[in-house]
Structures are given as structure tokens and as C-alpha cells.
Subunit: 320 residues, 2 copies
């Protein structure tokens, strides 16, 4: 639930004077998203999203994120599009925070995933990757393989508080992943956080991607690896290979995987599970008492990691 900064009616009226968006009609804090404060802003010209960037988003990264959304939207990818003020700026300040107004997207994120969602998602990711090809800014993925060891070391022996033996298991796992991690797969701009709550659907079609605040340059197939974890496990943690096949095959209707990518998919999926396991583990061990947002249970991703560890090839994901 996310409204960390209180914005008064006077604040927003003054802020809107920097834009050609008319007068404020209503503004309501949105109870979704955990990183930033988001408001649904209705004005006399339409409905928009006002975001105040809270401390987990680095100010220096905002030109990359906002620029990417604008770039993708200009190439027909539905995503929030930053709106420029009268001075040409899309990024300004409100209540001491970096702030931007973006367009409002139709649709809702799917809470129960069907195969059709995975099929539509795969193709939409392919189109997003294609549209990002000529985006000129660069941002490394600081939560890829090289970022995992510092995270694991920050958790240390306390990992065993979550499950006895976990510290040792993750140490071994990381040793393997650092060795096995592919380094020369096709790269591009990836979203890197394509969980269902970041993908809106409307009338059975993808109506947009949101929350580009982990987007970065990395190996393209890694975006799919994140989705294998986030979209293709049932709530009981069983892996649904039909959903995986739908996801990956529809992606390949836009861009075919190379042989090297195909062979790397089990490792990428295992690494993507590791990445979310480690950040959840860190948050689990370090959240303050009575925290505003309940931390997510890291064990969900531990089970996913173990699934991928036992996979022997891309066939497990419906690829042949």
C-alpha cells in the first residue's frame, strides 16, 4: 500500500499550474505499488497518474526510466507516458520528492493467471524488446548475477532463520550460478520486474506495462526468465509447463531464441528465482517492526529456485 508522502490540495493545484492539463477535479492515493507514492489525478482534461519517487528509486536513474517509457510509447508500446510541463520538463519536484505525471492506462492486472494471459504476455514482451532496441540511454542491471553476492553476504548466517541450512544452500547455489551464468546472449532494454501486477489486461489483451523502475540493459531472455517464475507457477508452487510454453512460444513469434539462449533458459530461470529470493530474504530479515508493507515470504522463491535447479534442459519449459 503506497502513499508515503502527503500531498495537499494546495500543493497539487500549484503543481498542475506547470502543465497544460487543466484544473484538478479530484486526487486519490492508490493502494498499490510499494516503492513510490502514486495518485490517481483527475483534471478537467482527463485522468492521469501522479507519482512521487520515494527513496528506493535513485534520482539519477529517473531520466532513464521516464525516457524509456516515452520512447516505448512513441513506438506503440502501451505504457505510462510522461507528460511534459510548459517548460518542456517531465521530471520535477513536489513535496520535496522527484515527481512526474504520466498517462493513465486502461485495464487491470490479472490476479488469477490463465494460459491466455501468458500467451498474450509473451508476444507483448517481444514487441517491447523490439521497440526498445534503439533507446539511447543505458543503465546496468545492478540486481543481476554480480549483485547477488553482496546481497547474500548482507543476509549472512541469518538466512537460517528462514529455514535451517538456507545460508549454506544459497552459498552453494551462488557459486554454481556465478560459474554457469551466460554472458553473451542477445542484449537490450528489459523491464526486469514483469510480475502480474505490472501488466494490465483489458478484454483479454495486454493493455499495457507499468512500473519500469527496475528497467535496465541486460540479456533479453532474462525478462522471460523472470516471467517463468512470476506467471507459470501455481499458488501451490507447482510449475505449469503449459503456461511456460505459451509464454515462450508467443515471444518467439516476434523474436526467435538463438540456440545459446534456448540452452541458457534453465540457468536464467534459476538465476531469476535467486534474484527475487535474495531481495525478499534481505527485506524479510531487515524490515522494521510494524512496517507499513508486510515483507513477502522468501520461501516461495526458494521452492521455485529448487524446481529450476533440477531441470535438465529447455524442454521442461515447453521448448523443443
Amino acid at each position: 500500500m503506497a502513499v508515503y508522502t502527503e500531498v495537499t490540495d494546495d500543493d497539487v493545484a500549484a503543481f498542475l499550474r506547470e502543465y497544460d492539463l487543466g484544473e484538478v477535479v479530484s486526487m486519490k492515493g492508490i493502494a498499490e505499488g510499494v516503492e513510490n507514492s502514486n495518485f490517481l489525478l483527475s483534471t478537467t482534461t482527463g485522468t492521469y497518474i501522479l507519482t512521487l519517487y520515494e527513496k528506493r528509486v535513485k534520482r539519477d536513474d529517473l531520466p532513464f526510466f521516464l525516457g524509456l517509457m516515452e520512447h516505448l510509447a512513441g513506438r506503440g508500446i502501451r505504457c505510462p507516458t510522461p507528460i511534459h510541463g510548459r517548460d518542456g520538463q517531465a521530471l520535477r519536484e513536489l513535496c520535496g520528492r522527484p515527481a512526474a505525471i504520466v498517462t493513465f492506462l486502461q485495464g487491470m492486472w490479472p490476479k488469477r493467471i490463465h494460459v491466455n494471459h501468458c500467451r498474450k504476455l509473451g508476444r507483448a514482451i517481444g514487441e517491447m524488446h523490439a521497440a526498445g532496441r534503439d533507446f539511447p540511454l543505458r543503465r546496468p542491471n545492478d540486481l543481476s548475477v554480480d549483485g547477488w553476492r553482496p546481497l547474500l553476504e548482507a543476509c549472512g548466517a541469518r538466512a537460517d532463520e528462514v529455514e535451517p541450512g538456507l545460508a549454506r544452500e544459497l552459498k552453494t547455489e551462488l557459486d554454481v550460478l556465478e560459474q554457469a551464468w551466460p554472458r553473451d546472449l542477445p542484449e537490450g532494454v528489459i523491464h526486469a520486474d514483469l510480475f502480474p501486477d505490472n501488466v494490465f489486461f483489458h478484454q483479454g489483451e495486454v493493455s499495457g506495462f507499468i512500473d519500469f523502475y527496475f528497467a535496465c540493459n541486460d540479456q533479453l531472455a532474462y525478462d522471460l526468465a523472470v516471467c517463468l517464475n512470476a506467471w507459470c507457477f501455481e499458488t501451490n508452487n507447482d510449475f505449469n509447463a503449459t503456461k511456460a510454453r505459451a509464454l515462450l512460444q508467443s515471444y518467439q513469434e516476434v523474436r526467435r531464441f538463438s540456440d545459446a539462449e534456448l540452452q541458457a533458459i534453465p540457468t536464467l530461470a534459476r538465476g531469476a528465482a535467486m534474484r527475487f529470493l535474495l531481495t525478499r530474504l534481505f527485506d524479510w530479515l531487515n524490515h522494521p517492526e510494524g512496517a507499513y508493507v508486510a515483507p513477502k515470504d522468501p520461501r516461495e522463491y526458494l521452492r521455485k529456485l529448487r524446481f529450476h535447479r533440477d531441470v535438465r534442459g529447455p524442454g521442461a519449459y515447453g521448448l523443443t
Copy 2:
């Protein structure tokens, strides 16, 4: 922050089929309100509020609340208006909770109160009281004077955890209020919870009242007494008599206070402070560890109570 119940896209699509409101376009949880789960629901016909009533609202009271909103809206008072389904029902069930769709109101609640807000508010309350006169349902105010002793006894000696001596001070205070409480002032339907976050303004005018879930039959002047506490103290707890005068005088442009009401206002204001002090005290002492909503500090209302206790007559509130 209030979304206690997760509603899926499938749930809301099925729910909307009971109405003539078109298809769902988007739905977002609203991070305001502490009693119920509220969603901003956009459909192909417009924007609405979907409310799921959580456990603090009694199911048996809902016909009173929804009926009142509809009654007031029919008499020109701007407030959320329940929308009837194809079967004529406004109250139905969603995800195991009583649920209703109401109209969306323009405007925002004022976070910094100016005298103009109080002036507009007084008249709008007068108009609401007049419009409620012929509402046929009845609901007693279970948080008026007779409800305070059980609340105080439930807090017991633990009140001293908030401030040493508080248990004794409140006991004495309650003895006085039970004796002095007026019983025969003009009655009607009151809102009973007119805090600034329940009153929207748009372009300097009251654009509507929301959150009627404490509404009841009681002495009309008690609504103003709640507002004296909620609108007329500065953030440092100084009382602003200019705001009080603006509130009460503009109310009297619609309905003049009787002499008995005038004389009773200091006691009503003192009692209204007691009511919110007691519920905040109870919540403060009884909120679970790591609660979702941080409890409000009861001491704010203790200071307000003490202010009213030292008042000698209605002149303190700008009345003559």
C-alpha cells in the same frame, strides 16, 4: 490505508454484470479510509466507487447508511449515491463482504483548513440537516454520552499509559458530562464524523460529503460540535475562534440555534472531544503489533477536551 479485501478482475467483472454500468475499464484500490475497502472503478459508462464493508460496519446498519445517502442525494445534497443493480438492489455481496457501488464525487478534502472552508462547511451542514428531516429510518448514536462509560471502563487504568493521571481525569470528566449533557435539543439525522477528510471541496465550494458510516439520529448541534474539534484547532492545538465563528454563523444562515442550543455548545464540544478521545484511546491501547493502520494519538483530543472544559459560554466560539 484501506484495501483489506483483494478483489480479482474476474470477481469485479462478474459483479458488474448485475448492473447497467457497462464493462470494467480499470479498478484501483484507494489508500484512504480506515473502515472499509474502497476501489475507484472505471467502466465504459463512467467512474464509480466500489466499497466492500469490512467488519467494523454492522451489516444491519447498511440499509440506514445507503438509504440516507440516496435520500440526501435526492434532495440535492452532494454525496455518494448508491447505484441499484438490475434487480433493484443497491446492497449486495462481493468476496464474502457486503458491497455497494456509489457515484464518484468531484473534489478533494482540504488538508490545510482556511476560514473559507469553515464558512462553506457550516452552510452545507445546515442544508444536509434540512434535507435529512424527512428521512424515515432511525439509528441511535451508540457513540454518544451513554456509550462513553463502557469505552472508558474498557480502557481502565491503562489510560495512564498515555499520560499519568489520565484515567482519573477522564473519570471525573465523564461524571460531569453525564450530568450536564443536554437531552432535549432539536434532533435529526447527523453525519457524526465530519472530519476534513469526509468533506470534499472543488473550486472553493463544498462538492460533497462522504463516509456516512457513523450517521445516526441525534441532536443536530452535535454535528457542529464535532466540527469545532476537527476544523477549528490549529495543528499546534490552538483554537481558532475566527474559524469557529465562520462555521457556526454560516450554519445559522440555514437554521438558527435555539437559546438552549447556544448555551449547550460548550458542553457538546467538550463531549465531542471526549467521544473521539475515548475511541482513539481504546484503539491506541488495543491495536495489534504491526497493525496495518497506525492508531491516532489520543492526546490531541485530550488537549481539545481541556480547552472546552475551561470555556464559560458560547462567546468562546464566536457566538453572541
